[in-house]
Amino acid sequence: MGKLTQLLFADKSESITEPRDGIPHVWVDVCGILGQRYLLIQGWAFHPAYESVNFRLVSMVGDAGDNEKAAANSVLYTLRTTRLDVNKQFGFQGAVRRWGYSLLLECPEGVEIDHTQLRLSVEAGRDRKLAELKPFEPLAGGALFGHCATWNAEEKQKLFNLLRTVMGSKVYEIEGFPHMQEGQLRAHVNWHWDNVLAVPGRGVFLAGWLLDGQKELASMVLRSSDGCYSSELLDRSVRYARQDVLDAFPGTAPADYKAGLYAWIPMPHLMERSALEIVMLTKQGAVTILPLQQRIVREDITLASQQILVNFNVRARDYQKVMREHVGPALAALWENRQSLLGEPEVEVVQFGAPIEAPKRSVIVPLYGRYDFLLHQVAQFTSDKDFAETELIYVLDDPRLYEAFMPFCHDTAALFPVSFKVVYAGRNLGYAGANNLGARYATSDQLVLLNSDIIPSEGGWLSRIEHKATDLESVGVVAPKLVYDDGTIQHLGMSFSRSAEYGQLWLNEHPGKGKPEWLVSPETVEEAPAVTGACMFISKALYESVGGLDETYVLGDFEDSDLCLKLRKAGYRHYVLGDEKLYHLERQSQNLFENHDWKFKITLYNAWQHTERWGALIEELVA
């Protein structure tokens, strides 16, 4: 609408003195009522002496009645358009001028308008020309665009945009738009939808391609069977190159035409059973309405997430905008919908071995993907006296494993004298959700969040770390040094760095990662802006005071730094103990920044959320 407004002139009705002949001809083609609220007057005014003129209605009777009221309403929009036929009629040879006009006025409520009592006044300088009106009649689509054959396409688009601005989605319901069959439309415009993912109550993710090399379309929207319209798709979809489409339809579009299209289309009133239609309107005023077969996304969102992300180009200039307007809201909608469908989990808690009475601490270990880590940890914990006073909680966060896992726990508990309990929600809660669930079932007031792929280097680490933490000031989270299997550093506290590659997002960093210890000479105690969630010591009260780990990050990333920053904002500090060492067998697959697959894109989505939330605090911390 930006350009359009520059071309619209407000009607300033100043007193006109002497009529001269600078405006020799004015003609009214159409007088219509639109949606019982607007008057649309179209025609042409020939005024070669003036660059621009003003339009207004004037009353011929001055009776302070209905017609007076109508005349008092100023013209809302004036659109000037190309009328080559007028040029021809008057033999005008000059530069490109727009003699046509479309005037939009608001129709006062309950007003009876008599066109004979009103005139259109066209004014410029000291010139003024009055033109007679035609009877105002409800305007049909055909008439709207019917007389404007010589308008250029941009002007027709402006008229349509104008109508939509004032009428909203009612514009599509103006009677009398000529309907165009799909086949006719495909002679000019082609398209295919690969995915139409509907999230009831939230919106639709549409992906496919649209080939409109000649810019025939004025509008494309979705509508539901109950009459809810989406916003305009043509100018707010993400477009990207689809060479295969251009190859399949040679010569129909410029070489740099971006046929690929995807968009998150908010439709908060979308009901689960609503049928969807796509409405396409050409610049000639022809409408094509086609049913759209959507797939409703429910609890299982993996495939849908992949489909949303597949064409998301994180290298594109506008990727943050795409993230903010399409990918981010689409992913959020999937997750929120999933959460609300699943409701509160039915939690199962199984104690293996004798319960620990009044434990000194609760160690929470989420398990996802593989569970043999439990055996490896328990085999190590067996020789550690601390575990006689430790509540060990495994949160099974992977329903695929359940059937094999429970007997495995039974056997492991029968053979290894370490008590543990298993908490299972019946579904995948994500890393944050699993830890939060574990914390809910913790009975001690000290929490240790531990990854399953962490193996201690020696026994007694729990009590030693707790002891060392007692003297620290405003303690938030305490974490040990973590090393890889070859002894090189995996974690010595986290920091943040801006990604030059990905639009200055803040990314989490593990300074010193991969270096042999002597190259980093860790301090015994060191403060860090954040520490890893792989091994975190935190009081349960503190953990709960900030609501635990944030569950809106997808697939486990950034929750740990998010927690640290929440605490940091509340005045707590985080420490790394350089003289306590545990092994962290961080899986290679977690190194997501190595490739550009969908998981990597999810990480980027998380990074974006994290940056939106914490960018300012991070800037202070790492300055």
């Binding site: 880590f373 490896h376 056997d411 029968a414 053979l415 067998l585």
Partner: protein, 410 residues
Amino acid sequence: MTDHKILIVSHGHPDHSKGGAEVAAYNLFKEYERQGLDTVFLARTDQPSHGGSAFSTINSEREILFHTHMSDFFLFQSGNKKHVWQDFRGLLERYQPTVVHFHHYIHMGLELIREVKNTLPNARIVLTLHEYLAICANNGQMVKPGKQMKLCYKSAPTDCARCFPERSAADFFLREKYIKSIFDLVDVFVSPSHFLIDRYKAWGIPETKMVMIENGQPKVEAPLPRPLAEGEERGRFAFFGQINPFKGVDVLLEAFKLLPEEIKKKVHLDIHGANLEGQTEDFQGKIRGLLDELGDLVTLHGPYESNEIGRLMEQTDWVVIPSVWWENSPMVIQEAFNHKRPLIASDIGGMEEKIAHLENGVHFRSRSANALAYQVKNAVLEEDWSALVKSINRPLSISECAGAHLKLYS
């Protein structure tokens, strides 16, 4: 006389399979019985049991078969953990051994060791190490997978992961940590070779926990030297053992192919080898091809019973052990010594340790058919056979071996 109750656990019963470890374990058991000690022999079997029970007996009620298996050869996980925490536990509770001597954990699961500690925390746990199973995931051979079968000198998670691309260094790290957590429960490790002790020491087992005890041999009357015909040389060579790629039979046959024609007339090779039919087709083809080429020079006899060993040794001048892996203390070396026959052996690992070059045997550069051919020729033409035989000491007897073990049990 002791009041110990000794449970000997073996991964097999010699009535079913005649591996060196099974035989050594069983010999020890029989010797303890002979000495009147309270002992039980528990041997794993892959045969089905009556009614699906975990146990059955064989020979006597003191020889118990354990019908169990392993599901995971990477971490030596029992394939039926209930067998461990119910049946094996029940046996421990009932019998209350003061010593549990494992001759292996393979095919049963490392959990057995854990279970002894759970149920009988004061029982002494002894583990005899027969291979490098804990160190090396390639069947404990410390030989790298692949056609070349390169010798491996040291394990490390990143190196091991290169041998097994489907596994990560982290997997090997966890494997080592897990096995060591179980090995921590063992009071004494017995090894029949110093070489194996050195490898386990390098891997992290404290040297003080490891003792070298050679496998005991039955007392036999050593056969006389093979009588020679007029002008005949000491040219009867023999191989005893499994025919598989690690045992170097192919090297041995290649060496015989390389012998000069005039030597070939003076020698013969007997292969007393089992299990060729269980090998890959490639390997079988290679061996059969070599056998065909060698014709009458070599006789393939197939497997032998242990009571036949004396008669077979009697017809032998030289025993060849051409293994291409390290070995530990192969049975054939002690058997050869027990029958006063000198050996020609690969110059690596347990073979190098047990056989003194030019004293009671001869070394050749392992894996080299040329080097072996040279030593075979030398053996026929040059070597002072009688002098070598004279230097062979009587090996440790079974009762001496049992005596050494009993010292460890207290």
